[in-house]
């Protein structure tokens, strides 16, 4: 069993990316001429108001949607649809209700033809990592929201992706669980050396987790800004520099 990935993987390059949807016959530009680079092993957070295209960007990276124009490269190769080097953690756990927790984590491995015993071994490893090994034989309906989301995280990690895409993964959790899970994510990220792209509407979460925060403007044609978060981990939410960074992010949205 190989845990984690060698460094130098999961690098993302996006050049001149555009995407529009047609809404009631009108073309709606969601992303226009976006350039982005995420270094291997980095955690990038994407924040923006609703409708700013942050989720669309993540879905394009996941291969669930195709861009209209521009290049999307992962490790130098253009992506075609979904790929085994990428995994997604959704806002909802999206567990299969008829499978036990361990079978849910093993599901993507079984889909990819990993033998049942190896899939179960790997599933156990990642369930231990998220602290749910004791719940292997439980069904999703027996779990709390936070536990179910941790199973979803274990499932994404079990495929040992180079690029982990997180679509508001903690958005549906209560404040306490959310903070615990943010700490968990930091720990997992540092243990697994995986590149992460995180879409969130929670600015504090962005500052807590990310190396860099990409701010998508509300109005199209506005300036896309990135803010570096140069703070040591584990981060202290009450530290002056943390607070200052959060304030400057709030200011990006005209909030104080």
């Amino acid at each position: 069993m190989t845990q984690g990935q060698a460094s130098g993987r999961g690098e993302v390059s996006i050049r001149d990316l555009s995407k529009s949807f047609s809404l009631n016959g009108r073309a709606l530009n969601v992303l226009r001429g976006l350039d982005l680079h995420v270094e291997s092993g980095q955690c990038l957070a994407i924040v923006g108001a609703s409708g700013s295209g942050k989720t669309t960007l993540l879905r394009i990276l996941a291969g669930l949607e195709a861009a209209d124009s521009g290049d999307v490269l992962v490790d130098g190769a253009p992506i075609h649809g979904v790929g085994s080097e990428r995994a997604v953690i959704f806002q909802e756990p999206r567990l299969l209700p008829w499978l036990t927790v361990i079978r849910n984590v093993a599901f993507p491995l079984e889909v990819r033809g990993v033998s049942a015993t190896e899939a179960a071994d790997r599933a156990r490893h990642y369930l231990r990592l998220v602290g749910l090994l004791d719940f292997s034989e439980a069904y999703p309906a027996q779990l709390s929201g936070g536990m179910a989301q941790r199973v979803g995280i274990a499932r994404a990690l079990a495929v040992q992706p180079e690029l982990l895409l997180l679509d508001e993964p903690l958005g549906a959790l209560d404040a306490m669980t959310k903070m615990t899970m943010q700490e968990e994510l930091t720990r997992i990220w540092s243990e697994e050396h995986v590149t992460m792209v995180l879409v969130t509407h929670d600015l504090e979460e962005a500052v807590y987790l990310a190396d860099r925060v990409l701010v998508l403007p509300k109005h199209k044609g506005g300036v896309i800004r990135t803010i570096d978060v140069d703070l040591p981990r584990p981060r202290d939410r009450s530290e002056p520099r943390f607070v200052a960074l959060r304030q400057s992010l709030l200011a990006e949205f005209g909030l104080h």
Binding site: A62, L64, A87, V88, E92, L96, P97, W98, V111, V159
Partner: protein
């Protein structure tokens, strides 16, 4: 966490309650009786009322014979064997029709639920067929298939097919697109998505259809046997009434109720085994 806590508090309760063993047993018995009473009390009262009312003459005993007469007629019929023959032939008719409906309905439903174009163009004619009473079509089936077993089985099959078929289509169509997308992200093929996401998700809905079909099968069985048969439980109900063997008539009716309950119970058990997960979320 909550599981552990509740277990601990449970153990705490147990250690505190050191009432004598016999008192505990009596308490349990009373609780059990109360539970039984709340569930079956009304049924038992109904049966007692029937018996008493019939014997006391509040009800005409020629129309509503006392229960003991009905039970003894049932026993004589079973011991004499003729009611068993009727049950056997009825079960055969309903069984063949129900099996055919399941064998055709589930695969066809799975296919129609998956392929939108097929469902789209077949739905209107299915709705028309479904809304046409099978019994109204029975004369047509008799013309086509004769008065023998084939027309009886076919009319039951016809009515039984639709609940299973439509429930299967519904179950497939309401598959959660978010789960399908999750499977797609992990590289599942269309077939794998169908086999591992769509199909298991449709099972509870399919069972709703199966139970409805089983009820329909028994309903149509009786109707078909009353109209054109010289054997079967439905025939026996009619025949006993013609001959004014009212206890036997009720015995046959009782037998039908038992068949219906039995079929439903069997399907419920099977559903419980196959969809344990679905009961957890209730």
């Amino acid at each position: 966490m909550s599981i552990i806590e509740s277990e601990q508090s449970g153990a705490f309760r147990r250690s505190k309650s050191d009432t004598p063993f016999s008192a505990g047993l009596a308490e349990k018995a009373v609780a059990g009786l109360a539970r039984l009473g709340s569930r079956y009390g009304v049924l038992i009262a109904f049966l007692v009322f029937w018996q008493v009312a019939s014997e006391a003459g509040w009800l005409n005993p020629a129309v509503f014979p006392p229960l003991d007469k009905i039970i003894s007629a049932l026993w004589n019929g079973i011991a004499g064997g003729f009611l068993l023959d009727d049950v056997a032939i009825s079960l055969q008719r309903a069984g063949i029709a129900f099996s055919a409906a399941v064998i055709i309905g589930i695969p066809l439903g799975l296919f129609m639920g998956q392929v939108k174009a097929v469902e789209h163009s077949l739905d209107p004619i299915l709705q028309l067929f479904r809304q046409t009473s099978a019994l109204a079509l029975y004369p047509v089936f008799i013309l086509l298939l004769g008065l023998g077993e084939a027309s009886k089985v076919f009319v039951i099959f016809w009515a039984t097919l639709f609940p299973t078929l439509l429930a299967t289509i519904g179950g497939v169509k309401q598959a959660d697109p978010k789960l399908i997308e999750m499977a797609r992200v992990y590289g599942a093929s269309r077939l794998t998505i169908f086999r591992r996401v769509v199909l298991p998700g449709a099972v509870p809905s399919i069972f709703v259809g199966l139970r409805l079909s089983a009820t329909t099968a028994l309903l149509l069985l009786i109707a078909a046997e009353m109209i054109g048969a010289n054997s079967g439980v439905g025939f026996q109900v009619m025949n006993a009434q013609y001959n004014f063997q009212i206890p036997l008539m009720f015995a046959a009716i009782l037998l039908l109720a038992i068949l219906g309950l039995g079929a439903n119970y069997a399907l419920e058990r099977l559903q419980g085994r196959l969809c344990r997960w679905n009961q957890l979320s209730r």
